[in-house]
């Protein structure tokens, strides 16, 4: 396990700088999945990327993992732009691994657990030397993912495993490459409630024992509260608020974050702000602040009272820096008022 400690000491930092991703459909409509995002993740920290479907969070995760080419901005690995050539991307895979959603579909049903976990090892030719046999590495990866004794699962097929076990096999497959950063897309949303805790505890343990950094993409604010050091909230291709988790979730500034928090089901909470409608089509992003058509502050007149309602409708907000903050005209206006 010495390589792991080395990895933690060397560490890795992944940074998105003004990243934009657009998709052009056959009909010519341009869908803007990401419209300028700054985000940084490094080894040893857990960042939660929170948003609803259509927010662009999965696209951002894939862009950071090198699976999605960007149409604007750049992704920096340890300060250097991410190489897009085959060889460079393959080398990146050893440092940044992505665990996909849907554990049931992400494992080839014809491959045994052993084959699935060994796939990465074989692809990169990592099993070299008498004390680094492929079998040893697979067993280690499965153990690190909490599946003990690992040998018992070698010959099982995915359909013979429970949902929680499948998720751990996926994580083991990623760990087998001994990465420095893990990107997990909705790691627990398809699992039963009581299994959730174990998988999340595993992510925390990986951070503590192996020094891994983790970027978790989720729609579940409770998950962010459970394990994340920092949280970023996305809406329609932009990060609207980001910062340390405790601060952000106990004292949210952005109207969208406030609304999201207010509807998380629990018995003692603030008055729920149920937003009308749904996230707009990414081919027709509203002008000005993209949240303004659904913003309760604009609808209630609070924005007008502060004199920013024209800005809300017309003025595009700057991209939030990686250090965090809140992208909202009203919040900015209130902060600039001398106390």
């Amino acid at each position: 396990m010495n390589d792991q400690i080395d990895a933690a000491e060397n560490g890795l930092s992944l940074e998105a700088r003004d990243v934009a991703v657009t998709f052009t459909s056959r009909g010519g409509a341009v869908a803007t999945a990401l419209d300028g995002v700054d985000l940084s993740v490094r080894s040893g920290e857990i960042v939660a990327l929170v948003g609803e479907s259509g927010s662009g969070k999965t696209t951002l995760a894939r862009a950071l993992a090198g699976l999605q080419p960007t149409t604007g901005g750049e992704v920096l690995v340890d300060g250097e732009p991410m190489g897009r050539r085959g060889r460079e991307l393959k080398a990146l895979r050893r440092r940044v691994q992505m665990v996909l959603q849907d554990p049931a579909g992400a494992l080839n049903p014809r491959h045994t657990v052993y084959d699935s976990v060994a796939e990465g090892i074989r692809l990169h030719g990592l099993a070299r030397g008498a004390d680094r046999t492929e079998e040893r590495m697979v067993a280690d990866a499965l153990s690190a993912a909490g599946l003990r004794p690992p040998e018992r699962l070698f010959l099982r097929y995915p359909h013979e495993l429970s949902g929680g076990q499948r998720q751990r096999v996926l994580i083991a497959g990623a760990l087998a490459l001994q990465p420095q950063l893990l990107i997990a897309d909705e790691p627990v949303s398809s699992l039963d409630a009581s299994i959730r805790g174990e998988v999340l505890a595993l992510l925390l343990r990986l951070r503590a024992e192996l020094g891994l950094g983790v970027l978790v993409v989720t729609h579940d604010l409770g998950l962010a509260w459970n394990i994340a050091d920092r949280t970023a909230v996305m809406y329609l291709g932009r990060i609207v608020e980001a910062g340390p988790t405790e601060e952000l979730l106990t004292n949210p500034q952005h109207p969208y974050t406030k609304a999201l928090l207010s509807v998380v089901p629990e018995t003692d909470r603030v008055e729920p702000v149920v937003l009308q409608g749904e996230i707009p089509d990414p081919t027709r992003i509203p002008g000005g602040c993209r949240f303004h058509p659904r913003c309760p502050e604009l609808a209630s007149g609070a924005a007008a009272a502060a004199g920013v309602d024209v800005d809300c409708r017309r003025a595009l907000l700057p991209v939030l820096p990686a250090s965090g903050g809140c992208a909202c005209h009203l919040v900015a206006a209130r902060q600039s008022v001398p106390s």
Binding site: E52, S53, S162, G163, G164, Q165, D192, A193, S194, I195, R196, G197, E198, L200, A201, L204, H219, D220, L221, G222, W225, N226, I227, E246, L249, T250, A259, L260, L261, V263, V264, P265, E266, T267, P272, V274, L275, E278
Partner: protein
């Protein structure tokens, strides 16, 4: 009792190649008009089997013992004609995975109209269209959406179409099986709003099935927690959520933390082990292998669901100890 639905000691056993699998084991529940009963449980607890058995939709090879009384009549032994009337006009289901239950090649308006045409064949086209429009508006969608195909709607909108479909024949009871599980939290809030408004205004009875105890606490009047085919705790919704008696109910409630609770910070709570294998249940309490409070006595006999407080029942021998 004037219960709308009364399930008495219901047991459903599937016949499989590996032998009989008891999906539901001796469940007794009741729901009244204007009341929401929440059933909490995870995969394998028997909740979906329970839901389909209420309308006698369980597989033909399954054996059913016990009674399911809808307005006093036993569904299990009902005549076919009465059963057909019951299905959708007496009680309807919003199925799990509703997003995939819509026919992709038919407009949603036609699909909502289908049960109306089946149950009330005399109704004219114009009247059917009007009612479909009304139903869509009841669930918060514009009536014009009836012309859309499922793929043109978002997940939340499709779920609402499923609810509209379930209401098409003005049933007395609606069974919602994990209706918000795959939805975003904001859309979930909208759908929950729709459902609670319906219960209030139309006086429906509702059974709401979910594995998220917090959602159930918001929506239900009473909650029954199921594990391995049996009810392990039952009581008023907010009490079961905030002060659970049964260790499983406690674990389930703790799985989704309260945002802002410092105790949940870096401390995800959950259960070890896997859901029970119904083909080989352990002796005694089926939850004992995973229970943080299990003792030797737990493996002796399956605990009986009995009243531990005036309005609350739990099936655990360790409730009531200090």
């Amino acid at each position: 009792m004037s219960d709308l639905l009364r399930i008495e000691d219901l047991s459903v056993t599937y016949a499989t190649q590996e032998g009989p699998v008891p999906a539901v084991r001796g469940v007794t529940l009741g729901v009244d008009r204007g009341e929401v009963l929440g059933i909490a449980g995870e995969s394998g607890c028997g909740k979906s089997t329970l839901a389909s058995t209420i309308l006698r939709l369980q597989p033909a090879s399954a054996t059913v013992d016990g009674r399911v009384l809808m307005d006093g009549e036993d569904v299990v032994t009902m005549r076919w004609g009465d059963l057909r009337t019951l299905r959708w006009a007496g009680a309807s289901i919003v199925f799990q995975g509703a997003l995939h239950s819509l026919n992709a090649v038919r407009r949603v308006g036609q699909q909502i109209a289908e049960p109306i045409r089946l149950h009330e064949p005399g109704v004219g086209d114009a009247e059917v269209d009007r009612r479909v429009g009304e139903l869509l508006e009841q669930v918060g969608l514009p009536a014009a959406r009836a012309k859309a195909y499922p793929h043109q709607l978002s997940g939340g909108q499709r779920q609402r179409v499923m609810i509209a479909m379930a209401l098409a024949c003005r049933p007395d009871l609606v069974i919602a099986d994990e209706p918000t599980t795959a939805l975003d939290v904001m859309v979930q809030a909208q759908v929950l709003d729709v459902l609670t408004t319906l219960v209030r205004e139309a006086g429906l009875g509702m059974i709401f099935i979910s594995h998220d105890l917090a959602v159930l606490a918001e929506v239900s009047d009473r909650i029954a927690v199921m594990y391995a085919g049996r009810v392990v705790e039952q009581g008023p919704a907010n009490l079961v959520f905030t002060d659970p008696l049964h260790p499983y109910a406690a674990a389930l409630g703790a799985s989704f933390p309260r945002v802002g609770d410092p105790a949940a910070r870096y401390a995800p709570a959950g259960l070890a082990g896997d859901p029970p294998d119904l083909r080989s249940l352990p002796a005694g309490c089926s939850f004992a292998p995973r229970c943080p409070r299990a003792v030797d006595a737990c493996t002796a006999a399956e605990p009986v669901l009995e009243l531990k407080r005036p309005t609350r029942a739990a099936a655990c021998i360790r409730v009531g100890e200090s």
